[in-house]
Symmetry: C2
Subunit: 163 residues, 2 copies
Amino acid sequence: MLRISKMTDYAVVLASHLAAADGAHAARDLALQTQIPEPTASKVLKKLARAGVVISQRGAKGGYALARRPEQIGINEVIEAIEGPIAVTECSDESTDSFCEYETNCGVRANWQRINLAVHRALSEISLADMAFPGTAELVSIALSGKDAERMRDAGTQSNDVH
Amino acid sequence: MLRISKMTDYAVVLASHLAAADGAHAARDLALQTQIPEPTASKVLKKLARAGVVISQRGAKGGYALARRPEQIGINEVIEAIEGPIAVTECSDESTDSFCEYETNCGVRANWQRINLAVHRALSEISLADMAFPGTAELVSIALSGKDAERMRDAGTQSNDVH
DNA sequence: ACATATGGGACTGAAACGGTCCGGTATATA
DNA sequence: TATATACCGGACCGTTTCAGTCCCATATGT
């Protein structure tokens, strides 16, 4: 579940790169700048475009640009663009849903939703803007700039122990 | 990254099952009760034992039991027992750490830590008790004894808030 | 001793992952 | 209009991981 695939890593790198330098950029340029093999970068960008994270412009002088402002794009969108819906179990698929033999199992399975939700929430609290500007990233628990602060407040109030 | 593997699903089911009925249980019995193929269940339980989530007793009358009380076991432990450390990128491995060519990439990679942290925290806030007793799942802070579990199991199968 | 039950690892078929390549289509520019 | 540019949609392939099974060694209660 929780091992990050290379493709996803690429996606975050590329999206963050776009966030840092706005405007349209060709896949080729992005690939060079991020040190990602060109065909692979292209593949990733296509998926991001399909998912609505970036918009594409075809033809000469075309390229990719973020679909929205970096602060308005959650990291979950980038991840889901590559990996599909987050943390689904077979049981939460429409097909075999509501078909468990033992109520204990079924109860457990229903609670996967809770896990999914928690993860989804945690990821959506992190925006591309947070990723694009490392300067403020180190200071997670200390001082944060305005927008970041608001976002972090809701995310991190429950408990701060990470053991 | 975020697709849950079957093994992990099994692990959660088995651990939750143990949480609901405390005491030692043989792998064989657990497999039957959870409808998980026996060799596979056995494999999963071994991993859980290795990770310290459950304790094992060998020999006749042996079996598996939770290592701690259900409320004290985070779901992240169960997941990590099967899948290893959560959400690592190659960059965050000791080997190639601190060796990025482009500062933008490096900044992004550093921010993976933030993502990892967010996910980890979200998961650690869900305990096995929450999974085992769906009815009282909202009340995270309330501790339950093993005996209460059986009572709850009958009553508490309906409160599935899927947000 | 003997039956029971876990520990560790080897092994296999199937699926996913990482990466590449190609033909098709849209578009800016000369 | 002709042409170069650049994205779109897949096909393809080698490698790795996943899911599942099986076997033998070891520990333990009766």
